[in-house]
């Protein structure tokens, strides 16, 4: 290949083995469109299949659909941060990342508390653990497609902080799943919402963080095994 003589041997070899033109990654807000589409599908299909919570009227449109939409918007913001984080030089400052992740958690708790208060502060009912396990499983299953899609979108880039990209993506998927769960789950006692719904959000967030950690370790291992390069 002409003109590459000035490059070090290993780099030249890499370039010669892959010299194809590439299509630049679309901006983060465009890639977010895929997640928005998935979120809308999940948000419409799941309640249609499973049924909306029976106490929806008592909750009122603001605390039912309004809260779910707000959580959905928060989820999209977190995924947007993950997609920005996936491109070198485009990540947002630590303060914004931290505030966004914590803010998502706080908002989830706030929705749970507001719902519980609005419905008369119900106490935990019978078979609380069994119901909780059902909710964790359901919410995790709802969030999994979003985690996988976000992971795919992030993996196509090159995150300088993969753990953060993973955590943000996982937290976004978690909040999205919780938004849908909020519409369908008939159990409103605070213990149930904080432990089981919150637990599912945490699980999805950590799955994203774990995926990022694996990517980072793989890269570090690859760097460690690379032979020293001759100066160009």
């Amino acid at each position: 290949m002409k003109g590459l003589g000035g490059l070090p041997e290993r780099l030249r070899h890499e370039v010669e083995s892959d010299a194809r033109p590439v299509r630049p990654l679309a901006p983060a807000w465009v890639r977010l469109g895929w997640v928005l589409l998935l979120g809308l599908c999940i948000g419409l299909v799941v309640p249609a299949l499973v049924g909306v919570r029976p106490d929806g009227d008592a909750l009122g449109p603001f605390l039912a659909w309004g809260a779910a939409l707000a959580q959905g918007a928060g989820a999209l913001w977190l995924v947007f941060l993950a997609l920005r984080e996936a491109v070198p030089g485009q990540g947002l400052p630590l303060g914004i990342r931290l505030a966004s992740v914590l803010g998502g958690g706080v908002f989830q708790v706030a929705v749970g508390v507001a719902t519980w208060a609005r419905l008369g502060m119900p106490e935990p009912g019978p078979a609380a653990v069994a119901k909780g396990m059902t909710c964790v499983t359901m919410e995790t299953a709802i969030g999994l497609p979003a985690v996988l899609l976000t992971a795919l979108l992030v993996a196509r880039a090159w995150a300088v902080r993969p753990r953060w990209a993973g955590l943000l993506g996982g937290a976004g998927a978690g909040l999205l799943a919780d938004a849908v769960q909020h519409l369908i789950c008939p159990v409103s006692d605070l213990q149930h919402v904080l432990i089981w719904h919150g637990g599912a959000v945490l699980l999805l967030s950590m799955s994203g963080w774990l995926a990022g950690t694996l990517v980072e370790r793989q890269r570090t291992r690859g760097e460690r095994s690379a032979t020293p390069l001759a100066p160009g």
Partner: protein, 186 residues
């Protein structure tokens, strides 16, 4: 070549490179290698390691070339990769004690901006830089030596522009103190 011309040239090279013109990569390498090596040597304080890290950076750049967004500044993207390559290197290798100061011929090749050069002569400046905390040193190198604005510095380091500005200013203040007190030879 003015600063604006250089930025445009880098962007044009990246677009050509993404389009499959590998000659553009060779030119990008020639243009950016000295700055990258200086920056990485300022982080690693070892010329051989810095050279290796430059090559590693370009390898990752080649694999991640699709992630550059046309129209955006190239240097924050490139230096973001370089910094991450350094951090990976540091994680994967054993820390060696900083028991020796770099010899004069090993000093980073970065050009020194006039206001920094007024502080003292080159070798003393680099020895003083070594005494800065890593966060301040990075900010000083990226802003005062590589002439990135604070928004770009923040993008490379993952911090707010205001934080980058504070780090750079505190770094320069600390450099002045070190050089004034004579903790390194001038």
């Amino acid at each position: 070549m003015t600063e604006g011309d250089r930025h445009e040239r880098l962007q044009a090279l990246m677009v050509a490179y993404q389009g499959g013109e590998m000659q553009a990569l060779a030119e990008l390498y020639e243009l950016m290698r000295p700055q990258l090596k200086g920056f990485l040597q300022g982080l690693s304080w070892d010329a051989t390691t810095a050279e290796d890290l430059v090559q590693e950076t370009f390898l990752h750049l080649h694999r991640a070339r699709h992630t550059y967004e046309p129209g955006r500044p190239v240097r924050p993207w490139l230096f973001g990769i370089a910094r991450n390559v350094f951090l990976m290197h540091r994680r994967s290798s054993a820390r060696r004690a900083r028991h020796e100061q770099p010899a004069a011929e090993e000093l980073p090749e970065l050009p020194i901006a006039p206001e920094a050069e007024r502080l003292t002569e080159r070798s003393a400046l680099w020895r003083a830089l070594e005494r800065l905390g890593e966060g301040r040193r990075e900010a000083v190198m990226l802003h005062h030596l590589l002439e990135m604005d604070f928004k770009q510095v923040g993008a490379v380091l993952g911090i707010a522009a205001g934080t980058a500005k504070v780090r750079a200013h505190r770094g320069i203040a600390e450099l002045r103190r070190i050089l004034r007190v004579g903790e390194v030879g001038s």
